[in-house]
């Protein structure tokens, strides 16, 4: 955050306030581009299920599916994988309000299921997955990427803390918005007002994101210190443990009985997933993920054996507070706990976070320019990130519509972004360059809309 004049420290001495601004700027500049990318993709990925529906509008949709239809579909999918290595897990996504589709995913492929249990078509949501992967790992190898994104979450919390220390009047001025003032004041006011009012959201998003991203590091720390290196043992008390593996072969398990059990014994819980562990082995067992209304938890795990016998639940809904907190982190981060209104609010605050990240660097560049230290290349490169990355994202969406599910989305995105960055270093007119990127973004959005309309 950056502030105007007349800063008078209240609670912190002047030197601390000055050092906090220095720290705030240093963190913001160090992580700025990646922070912006993670905030931008996070804002778009709030509508993950909606993007999936947009990407493949022809997939069969239904409000519910009969247990016997699910059984039939699972049998068909497992039969189709004969000759391949056994999948370690089989996931059945059941129709929910957000995504009214039945989809079966194994280690080898994913298919949409019609309401009668027949296989309708392969699942094709490469763009949604690529977007999620960009947000989760920046397309890096998963462990490295998640740690890096976790680090960015930590940096956002640090930015929020240093921003509050660096601006002693930030709460008092919370509604003071000189939006049209010159000399960088308008930009700074936008930055600070959005910052103060999104503070609860920012800290919550960043902390849950950092927790998810750094779970590998902390998990290994816990495993190494207390569980003799066994990472699974760290998570077993939280989410429940995996059953003992028994690789002897076994017939297709009963997937219908757990669904019927849920209908009979937990009518207020909506099953969203059936997870079959170690399919076609003697150790196979089924978990039902049940959605609890008006809760932050992503669901509760209800455990069943291969014959459909009930074996209790993990305790995410009513177990230890830690279990409930861990199960709430995902929904709190992604905003899928209150339907479309909550998602729209998350997208709005996500956009505010993008605006804060974008204006932060612009404010710093503006201050230096006014002191006679102009950085035209850096300014254009920052414009390339701010306007070029959403344009590149939308262009990959258009590419997905033209070429199909096999479009090289990751290569296209990074290729486009690097090209835009290189162009930013070559061109000389910064104003025209920025305007050009803004036009490119608008054209890409319009092309995406036209493409979607043609798909319907």
């Amino acid at each position: 955050m950056s502030n105007g004049e007349g800063v008078r420290a209240k609670g912190f001495d002047k030197a601390t306030v000055r050092d906090a601004l220095s720290a705030h700027a240093a963190i913001g500049l160090l992580a700025g581009a990646f922070l912006y990318l993670v905030c931008l993709t996070g804002t778009i990925v709030v509508f993950f299920t909606e993007w999936q529906r947009i990407e493949q509008p022809a997939a069969p949709e239904m409000r519910a599916i009969a247990p016997q239809s699910v059984q039939r579909a699972v049998e068909t999918v497992l039969a189709s994988e004969k000759g391949k290595p056994l999948t370690t897990h089989l996931y059945v996504h059941l129709p929910t309000q957000d995504l009214p589709r039945t989809t079966i995913t194994t280690d080898h492929h994913a298919v949409h299921v019609a309401s009668d249990g027949s296989i309708a078509m392969p699942e094709e949501n490469a763009w949604s997955d690529y977007l999620l992967s960009l947000h989760y790992t920046l397309h890096l190898p998963s462990t490295l990427g998640m740690i890096l994104v976790g680090l960015l979450g930590v940096m956002i919390v640090a930015l929020a803390i240093s921003g509050v220390i660096a601006h002693p009047r930030i709460f008092r001025d919370a509604f003071r918005l000189r939006a049209r003032s010159s000399g960088g004041v308008g930009l700074a006011d936008w930055h600070n007002r959005l910052g103060v009012w999104t503070l609860p959201f920012t800290i919550m998003i960043a902390l849950t994101g950092a927790m998810i991203g750094l779970a590998v590091v902390t998990g290994y720390g816990l495993a190494g210190s207390f569980y003799k290196g066994d990472l699974e043992a760290v998570y077993a008390p939280i989410f429940g443990g995996e059953g003992a593996a028994d690789k002897a072969s076994a017939p297709v398990p009963d997937m219908a009985t757990p669904m019927r059990y849920m209908q009979a014994h937990h009518p207020d819980v909506h099953p969203s997933y059936l997870i079959l562990h170690d399919p076609l082995t003697a150790g196979q067992h089924v978990q039902v993920v049940g959605l609890h209304p008006n809760r932050l938890i992503f669901g509760e795990y209800y455990m069943f054996d291969a014959k459909g016998g009930y074996h209790g639940k993990a305790g995410l809904s009513d177990g230890a507070l830690g279990q409930q907190a861990a199960a709430s982190a995902y929904n709190l981060h992604f905003g899928n706990y209150g339907g479309l209104p909550v998602k729209i609010a998350y997208a709005l605050f996500g956009l505010a976070l993008c605006a804060m990240t974008a204006t932060g660097t612009s404010i710093w560049l503006g201050k230096r320019r006014r002191r006679g230290l102009d950085h035209p290349r850096l300014t254009r490169a920052w414009d390339a990130i701010v306007w070029g990355s959403p344009a590149a994202l939308m262009l990959t969406f258009v590419l997905r519509q033209w070429i199909g599910n096999d479009a090289p989305l990751v290569a296209a995105f990074w290729g486009l972004l690097v090209t835009i960055l290189v162009v930013s270093l070559v061109v000389t007119n910064g104003h025209r360059f920025r305007r050009g990127l803004q036009i490119l973004l608008i054209v890409a959005i319009l092309a995406g809309c036209v493409g979607f309309a043609l798909m319907l």
């Binding site: 950056s2 105007g4 004049e5 800063v7 030197a15 601390t16 720290a23 700027a25 240093a26 963190i27 976790g150 930590v154 940096m155 919390v157 640090a158 803390i161 919370a174 509604f175 918005l177 000189r178 939006a179 049209r180 003032s181 010159s182 960088g184 004041v185 308008g186 700074a188 007002r193 959005l194 999104t198 959201f201 950092a210 927790m211 991203g213 750094l214 590091v217 902390t218 720390g221 816990l222 210190s225 207390f226 760290v234 008390p237 939280i238 008006n294 177990g319 230890a320 830690g322 279990q323 409930q324 709190l332 706990y337 209150g338 909550v342 710093w364 201050k367 230096r368 006014r370 002191r371």
Partner: protein, 179 residues
């Protein structure tokens, strides 16, 4: 209730003088709203109430932005002292060391302290799930706070002390927890 609190805060902060009763009432209303939401709908209720108050504040900001006059305010001059001015040395080595201290080393120190808290929680009967989840949340939180504190530290020696203390506490606690 939280929406009313935001509107009252807006009114109180716009007054020329500081109105302690109004500000107090606004903050009390905000806390009360969150408590009521929590009592009625638990953590879900608190989250939705927070979203409502932020949306209300955004609406107020939108009005403020829309009605803001075009003027020539005094340009911003506060310096962040991030990059050297022309002719100043760049201190690359010093900056790199600061990066090492605040990023990887601070992570290790934060993890050590979080693990120490885990040992303490376990010893006091917090339960395995609670202890592990607190550690998972605490590591990034401690790291964030460390980054800020380390960057505010005026001397390098203070930074080393700030890293060394949690490492020592964490190391000893883990050893004690393993015994």
């Amino acid at each position: 209730m939280t929406v009313a609190a935001v509107l009252l805060l807006r009114h109180a902060w716009r007054l020329q003088g500081r109105s302690v009763p109004l500000l107090g009432a606004a903050w009390a209303l905000l806390v009360l709203g969150l408590v009521a939401a929590g009592a009625g709908q638990g953590a879900w209720g608190v989250s939705v109430a927070c979203l409502s108050l932020m949306l209300c504040a955004f609406a107020c900001l939108a009005v403020a932005g829309w009605t803001a006059p075009r003027d020539k305010a005094r340009p911003l001059q506060r310096r962040a002292h991030m990059l050297p001015d022309a002719g100043e040395p760049s201190y690359i080595g010093r900056r790199l060391l600061t990066f090492l201290i605040t990023v990887p080393l601070a992570l290790v120190a934060s993890l050590a302290l979080a693990l120490a808290v885990r040992v303490w929680l376990s010893a006091n009967g917090a339960g395995e799930a609670n202890a592990n989840v607190v550690t998972l949340f605490l590591t990034p939180l401690l790291w964030s706070i460390s980054v800020v504190l380390l960057m505010l530290a005026k001397r390098r020696r203070t930074q080393w002390l700030m890293l060394g203390a949690p490492l020592l506490v964490g190391g000893l606690s883990i050893l004690w927890g393993m015994m």
